[in-house]
């Protein structure tokens, strides 16, 4: 067992973990942050995507010990303290970009990273290509793509302000 310390959603946390414990297991099982989901065992589906030091990472593909000292943001950490949704969350709701909700946390975390990494603009084809690491079985992606396109100006406007 190893003791690790990290920041999750702005709060300092520490935990005892086995060497083989995955970051997603730390989040879900030790920290009770069950918003991050596990949808596969081959790092394909993206339901477990979180932000590690600002980058989107599949938390099933990273050991918890590798997160020592890192700043992690999960789906639970996106909305403002007063409950105001992040623009990406708001646009997912506005454009009916979720149905069963299971892929949604990973999808939203990936989508935010995609928008942040393309400040100059994002075409529909780029959005579809960038979503390659996230599977959704419900929506056919049509409305997810729309939601991300709609969040783009809102997020970059916020950055500019």
């Amino acid at each position: 067992m190893a003791k690790i310390s990290l920041k999750v959603n702005g709060k300092a946390v520490s935990a005892e973990v086995e060497g083989r414990t995955l970051l997603v297991e730390l989040l879900r099982e030790k920290l009770g942050l069950t918003g991050t989901h596990v949808g596969c065992d081959t790092s394909q589906c993206g339901a477990c995507v979180v932000h590690v030091n600002g980058d989107s990472v599949k938390s099933c593909t990273m050991l918890a010990v590798q997160a020592e000292g890192a700043e992690i943001t999960t789906i639970e950490g996106l909305a403002a303290a007063d409950g105001t949704l992040h623009p990406m969350q708001a646009m997912f709701r506005e454009h009916h970009a979720l149905q069963c909700g299971f892929c949604t946390p990973g999808m939203v975390m990936s989508a935010i990273d995609i928008v942040q990494k393309h400040p100059a603009g994002l075409s529909e084809a780029q959005i579809r290509e960038e979503l390659e690491g996230n599977l959704c079985r419900c929506t056919g992606y049509h409305n997810i793509v729309k939601a991300i396109a709609a969040a783009f100006p809102l997020m970059h406007q916020k950055h500019a302000a």
């Binding site: 506005e94 069963c100 909700g101 419900c138 056919g140 049509h142």
Partner: protein, 792 residues
Amino acid sequence: MPFEGIGASVKRREDGRFLAGRGRYVDDMNRPGQVYAYIRRSDRPHARIKHIDIAAAAAAPGVIAVYTGADMAADGIGGLPCGWQIHNKDGSPMAEPLHPVLAIGKVRHVGDPIAVVIAETKTQAKDAAELLVIDLEDLPGLADIRAATAAGAPLVHDDVPGNVCYDWHIGDKDAVDAAFARAKHVVKLDLVNNRLIPNAMEPRAALGECDVAGHYTLSTTSQNPHVIRLLMGAFVLHIPEHKLRVIAPDVGGGFGSKIYHYAEEAIVTWAAGKLRRPVKWTAERSESFMSDAHGRDHVSHAEMAVDESGHFLALRVSTLANMGAYLSTFAPSVPTYLYATLLAGVYKTPAIYAEVKAIFTNTVPVDAYRGAGRPEAAFLLERLVDAVAHDTGIDRVALRRANFIPADAYPYQTPVALQYDSGNHEMTLAEALKAADYAGFPARRAEAARRGKLRGIGISTYLEACGIAPSQVAGALGARAGLYEVANIRVHPTGSVTVFTGAHSHGQGHETTMAQLVADQLGVPLDQVDVVHGDTGEIPFGMGTYGSRSLAVGGSAMVKAMDKIIAKGKRIAAHLMEAAVEDIEFKDGAFRVTGTDKAKALAEISLAAYVPHNYPIEELEPGLEETAFYDPKNFTYPGGCHVCEVEIDPETGVTKVVNFVAVDDVGRVINPMIVEGQVQGGVAQGIGQALLEGAAYDANGQLLSGSFMDYTMPRADNLPNITVGTEITLCTHNPLGSKGCGEVGAIGSPPAVINAVVDALKEYGVRHLDMPATAEKIWSIIQANRPKMAAE
């Protein structure tokens, strides 16, 4: 206040929790003292279990118990039940071999559960499971239905000769034979409907609990908790229903695969009773691939008899359907009453005869997957119609129009048992062709050709059947369950409303649409209505969600319950306003005395009902809460037209869907935004089936596509934008006029896609292509036919 009633695209109330990461799925739940189950499964398709040595596993750190099939048998636990019995042509019942919860004697498919290890932690359980010594003696296995029916094929079950579960038929064989004898053209087609793996994004999970008084609770990823309670309680574990509560909380997609009663549900519930500790099991995705019921897997031969002017005279179909190694809960109904009864489609073909053989193989059990039988029927028929067009030279749109059941012919009795109540196929066809700019296609094909691309367009004009019913008829056809739905509507003293529904939402947005329906009909603000579902401890005995039934059947039950609320409310209002009951009308949330300005709001009536000081107590019970069970008179019949346009790169064989239009008749729509989303999701699964997805087994039954690395799930860059239109006719036999929208996308789209691919490849001599039309398959066709083209 914005309009939020029937027809409004209200944003979903479920989204708040899902977007915040506050959904509550089974694997998110943890109980004090909880232990973890890990299931050791067969990695062989077919083998005799010679010996299981549990000693090392049982002694491993953290292990609490190890159980095998022998332990369950010692507790008097038999097999998992099947919910539908089909009878053979000769009237004898189908073969129904034992489906052990944990394997006994033999394993019959990769994924068959052999033993369960229960430990303090998940990793301890998994580590210990590796220490189980399971001595298997391989037996010859079978995956392909054609091989399984060959003479001398190995037997999946020793007591099922020829591996035939049933040999069933429907229709008038003599009339069909006579029509074929006088036909001008006979068009034949062999088709494979590819096996699919449903892959809801949430893997299945189950959490069993048992309290000191012997009350059990099972939380499970189910589409129908009461069905699970009945099947597991009464037929597997023998737990009386008042001592068994089944909860299906937030469920991350189902598509049919979460209808069935699975072994793991029984295992954790039984083990929780033995150990008196909560037992949780969560599937890893690789387990999902080898233990969730698969879908489709038909091999068919179809023949259409056609007269000189292109009218269909008769249809003859012969189908082999793969059941897998055991009968899943509703498997026998899928290739029979949900398939062959739909073979008339939208056409007035006067004579139809279909025979279906269901076959056991050493593969995962096959059951209903989004569409369940109807996609197989639609694919066969809409491919066959295109083949008729190909062989006779008649234009495929004109051919369809010439054979449509005309709108004024409804209600329409088909030759395969169903009576369609309503539809207008010309309307959906015309609208779809317009939306897809069908007329402009030749110019687009020519433009694509200049870029070196092969462009094709395909249409499908399909019909399906939803809300399987009535119970009595379904029972006569072999159903071992009722097919009604229930709603309980509780108007609280201050006029807010809680709706308890037997339907279950696992992505469909019922908490929003059902609230819209009730708010609209009772005239109360939407935020005054809540919907409760998924917990047998809270809701009356309901049948759950499958077959696009939730609104057409479950919503109709709500209307019936509201009718009772309003009828009672009128009597209370008549008393309070000293008027005759006949003079009270209910409108916009108030009871009014006709022709006066006297009125009482619903909240005033409900308060009087719960505080019955001034109340007709001699005639009426207090309270304002009503339950209605609604058993439909018939199926509903959604249908429509899908148009798909593809572009193929002949250098790579990659097919790109460049345009997809779906115009569907789903009956009355409550929330257009949600209907559009349902259709888009269904179409995505249909395009997946047509171009990408296919469960692969080797000849022996080893599963080759056992992960997302081998099984191609549609990704965002595989799919187009999907244009959805609705052109409706109302269902004539339910009070809402709704038909259902959950499966139309997956039913109408595969033939539209393949018709488009065949159209794109017509210069290469392609008349038919089996799904999935992968790049490799298309590239090979192009390569094989290139020299011939060059020579011509």
